[in-house]
């Protein structure tokens, strides 16, 4: 399954790991902030509607 | 315009801020360099052009936040904006005043400080020429940065962050002229590029600065 990376295994694997960590962090941060803002907005809109 | 220029110059002289401070900073930076890299004269003379350029750039940067902030605080910027003089002109005059109070002294001081750094003999002319051509660009670009951050409370650090990348081309070509000159190589090509950047910045950036200032004065 795992391809033979030869003497550069560390290099290739660390490059993939670093990139994937960065990509996942970017997506996760975006989604996290998006969720939070959406929830907050919903709460405020509900409150505004209740209070008129 | 001339009245405004004279007013700015007089204010700078009287307050003692920009005039002495930039120069003193330039001196300090230059003096600190041998302490940090060691006193070997061969090493110093090879890095002297770059150090002088970096020092001049930092000294310019340091004086930028006073460029518009004082006029902003006491409201004279609002008056200037409603004056018959177009804001582009005001901005250009401000940049010119900044250059006369900061850039010009730096140009004149550079050869003296060059002695401290063991600058090769043929480099003195080139460091003066390159700084004389480059510092106007630094002033104009800096005015743009100052106009961007004029409304902010603690704009100083942000100003540096914004202006530094904009200084990159000027620094590269300016330091290149000085370095090549000091090594006795042909420095005409980077000098023309440097002059081109300065001319372009002086011609175009005041419009951007004025536009930005209008937004901030809104």
């Amino acid at each position: 399954m795992m391809p033979d990376l030869g003497k550069y295994a560390d290099t290739v694997l660390s490059a993939y790991a670093a990139s994937i960590v960065l990509l996942v962090a970017l997506v996760a941060l975006s989604l996290w902030r998006g969720r939070r803002v959406r929830a907050d907005l919903r709460a405020i809109e509900a409150r505004m509607r209740r209070d008129g | 315009m001339i009245a405004l220029l004279l007013r700015d110059l007089r204010l700078a002289l009287r307050a003692g801020g920009g005039f002495g401070l930039g120069l003193a900073f330039f001196l300090i930076v230059t003096v600190m360099v041998p302490f940090s890299v060691g006193p070997q004269s061969a090493l110093l003379s090879s890095i002297a052009p770059g150090v002088l350029w970096l020092g001049a750039l930092l000294a310019c940067l340091l004086s930028l936040d006073r460029l518009l902030a004082l006029d902003w605080e006491d409201g004279s910027l609002d008056l200037l904006a409603t004056a018959p003089l177009p804001l582009e002109g005001v901005v250009s005059v401000k940049a010119l005043a900044h250059w006369i109070t900061t850039g010009l002294p730096l140009v004149l001081a550079a050869p003296v400080l060059g002695v401290l750094l063991n600058l090769p003999a043929q480099g003195f002319l080139w460091i003066v020429v390159s700084l004389a051509l480059g510092t106007p660009a630094l002033s104009v670009i800096g005015t743009f940065g100052a106009a961007l951050t004029v409304g902010l409370k603690r704009g100083g650090l942000l100003l540096s962050l914004l202006v530094m990348p904009l200084y990159v081309p000027t620094l590269i070509f300016g330091a290149e002229v000085a370095r090549r000159g000091a090594q006795g190589m042909d420095a005409i090509t980077p000098m023309l590029m440097l002059a081109g950047i300065s001319a372009g910045a002086i011609a175009l950036l005041p419009f951007a600065s004025a536009a930005v200032l209008r937004v901030n004065l809104r």
Partner: protein
């Protein structure tokens, strides 16, 4: 708030909400297919060994780092000319994505450069330009974050983006010139795309498609977030005004 004020953002939200799942799915698919294909099923380069596999991350992210700035430039222009709020917010939303792409390109480049050139970092024109681009991104984001009034912030950052683009381009040429002057004949060039063989080229294309789609999805999503955040601020301000 009058209706026309957020008529467009509302439409934007509705439309982006509809197409976003497709973009997420497609980009995920392309990335997984492209990276798995590239990682497991391509041969090693005869000179570079297995490090050639880094190309599937390095080239797409570098491409997107530049294209993200271009997209911000276009969005800034639209904001300055048409005063289209969504456009300004899209530029804001794209900047952190651009930063991440620049970082990926720089990090993978450094990791790749270590065994190939024997150094993590060289002041090669391309590397240096990317570092400068990174600084431009940082300044742009910092300016957005520093200004309270959203319209002022949009105006100022747009002008900064325009001026910054010109200077970024200038820096690119300056850096080229500067490095030639420093060490002639340095052949540290990353431009191998032209002679990349088909075995590498096809998965690379899939990866690029994946990065582009991911960028679009992220920008759409983040723009939606910015629109909601803006609306929330307006509502809170109104609430305060009503309470006072």
């Amino acid at each position: 708030m009058s209706l026309w004020e957020y008529a467009n953002p509302k439409k934007f939200l509705a439309t982006s909400e509809r197409v976003l799942p497709a973009f997420w799915a497609l980009s995920g698919l392309c990335l997984v297919v492209g990276l798995v294909w590239g990682f497991f099923f391509t041969p090693d380069d005869f000179r570079q060994g297995s490090t050639v596999k880094i190309i599937y991350l390095h080239v797409p992210s570098a491409l997107m780092a530049i294209n993200a700035w271009l997209m911000m430039l276009v969005a800034s222009l639209i904001w300055l000319v048409r005063r289209h709020h969504v456009s300004a917010l899209a530029a804001r939303a794209a900047a952190p994505v651009g930063v991440a792409m620049t970082l990926i390109a720089l990090v993978t480049g450094a990791i790749w450069g270590q065994p190939m050139w024997g150094t993590w970092w060289a002041w090669d024109p391309r590397l240096t330009s990317f570092l400068i681009l990174f600084l431009f991104y940082l300044g742009y984001i910092a300016l957005w974050a520093a200004i309270d009034n959203p319209d002022t912030a949009a105006d100022l950052t747009s002008v900064l983006c325009l001026v910054g683009s010109v200077f970024a381009l200038l820096s690119r040429y300056a850096v080229n010139f500067w490095n030639q002057g420093l060490h002639q004949g340095a052949s540290l060039s990353l431009d191998k795309e032209k002679n990349v063989a088909d075995v590498f080229y096809q998965p690379l294309l899939v990866c690029i498609a994946g990065f582009v789609l991911l960028f679009v999805a992220l920008v759409l999503y983040r723009t939606g977030t910015e629109i909601r955040a803006r609306r929330m601020r307006a509502l809170i301000a109104r609430e305060r005004a009503g309470a006072a």
